[in-house]
Point group: C2
Chain length 278, copies 2
């Protein structure tokens, strides 16, 4: 018997209907993925993708993702979780959903999704992708094999390769990184993988200062700017990621990310706010 | 008897504890403000500020706002609303709250707030405010008196004064606006007014194309980058607003905004996603 191949991302976001259903909430169960472990619990973008997967499985979820906000209340423990998806507002064209993830009854993450049927419309692209060499001309960066999630992506840096050895030289570097990103093993792009990729950029504090204080993303919001057909047309291709930050102050810093298609279309924009103690 | 003066913003965001309390939700009641009416219901930023006000009145809400996401499910009708605030995750330093606004039992807006005790930390400001004339050197723009909310702000444009007469010339203009903004009448800045100001920028589709198709903000996320003391120190001053957009495609466009202090510190960054039919 041949075992069907399942990509680690599909395994990570896979959830099962829970036996504890209620009238107003659709519930699922799942487990953290060993493939996407970060220093302190599972990579946030994969937790987000798992919760989005729950929203997409709601029976009234007919649209595709327009935006997704995920609040990370605490790191995921190494035990099973429950996801509750509630339809706040349904509609033929647009649906609003709230999602909560619990472990041992405590909410460890909350999220909201807006889904919509994407239509053709007036199209205008004032922002431009940075001009960079194609991904095949750049070798994957040796960013290490631990934590485990680093093995699940390839990063080809155009600019801003992080110096991952902690340094105390006081040198303040640019917050900006530009890099080609693909799942590893490669996998066709979809909303779930793009949401995961929104969170693969090293936290900008590390990038800028080279120190490793306690830090974690508190909230991340991701917007999807392409239609499902356009995302599917990208196939297994790499996306061009741009990450930056504007301000580190009063215990938090922002982080902005963009994911561009090979032909220079903005597929995703994402922002997050990061707590740090430094 | 002298009637105490109440600023229109404080009147707009004012809510009263509801008689229908539950164990897990704190509930409030309120009404749309005639002072902040937009073309189709109340200005979204004021609805957001009203919901944030509900979160801040939760008895376990000891922190101040770090981020706030508001999903606008449908325009506010001209009738009373209820706000339900639920503490998803409490803590001494950080609290996560979910907020839902209902009219006639239907959810018309959902939101999430992260509050935290802001501390002194390493501080770094790689982003810079644009170099502009001071607000007192610019006259308020005559942006009209209807809808009503236009009377509640003064806008002093440095760049990107919108052409509010619908035009069909096909000319595609820059999505960027730079302008000084203050409440009118003036009012000391706080998190509520800054959240309102995050949403005072004309939707970028109007700015760029000059057409008025059906359009509305679907979701807005706002990050606060200054401590409460720093915001209070701004007094009744104007903030420098920068608005822009990157992509209009498949029925939606993004909109990014920044609010800078007079001395060039980033107080707020905000993003929204806007539905349009065009």
């Amino acid at each position: 018997m041949v075992k069907e191949y399942i990509h680690p991302l599909d395994a990570a976001v896979s959830i099962q209907p829970s036996s504890r259903q209620s009238d107003r909430c659709i519930k699922f169960e799942g487990a953290p993925s060993p493939d996407y472990q970060n220093i302190n619990g599972q990579l946030g973008g994969i937790t987000a993708a798992t919760m989005l997967n729950g929203a997409l499985q709601h029976p009234e979820a007919t649209g595709t993702p327009v935006c997704f906000t995920n609040n990370f209340c605490e790191p995921m423990a190494d035990e099973r979780f429950e996801i509750a998806v509630r339809l706040d507002r349904g509609g033929r064209h647009t649906q609003f959903l709230s999602i909560r993830m619990r472990q041992r009854g405590n909410i460890i993450a909350s999220a909201s999704a807006v889904l919509s049927t994407r239509r053709n419309s007036w199209s205008h692209h004032p922002a431009r992708a940075p001009s960079v060499p194609s991904s095949i001309k750049i070798d994957p960066a040796p960013v290490g094999t631990s934590p485990q999630w680093l093995n699940r992506y390839q990063f080809r840096f155009v600019e801003g390769l992080p110096d991952l050895s902690p340094r105390e030289d006081g040198d303040i570097r640019s917050a900006k990184s530009i890099l080609w990103i693909n799942d590893w093993p490669i996998r066709p792009l979809d909303h779930l993988s793009l949401l995961g990729m929104s969170d693969v950029f090293f936290l900008r504090l590390l990038q800028v200062r080279g120190t490793f204080p306690p830090m974690s993303t508190v909230s991340m919001t991701t917007y999807f700017h392409a239609s499902p057909d356009e995302i599917a047309a990208e196939g297994e291709g790499a996306v061009l990621g741009v990450a930056d930050a504007r301000v580190f102050h009063a215990g938090f810093h922002d982080q902005c990310a963009e994911l561009w298609s090979k032909d220079g279309r903005l597929l995703v924009s994402s922002t997050q706010i990061v707590w740090f103690r430094d």
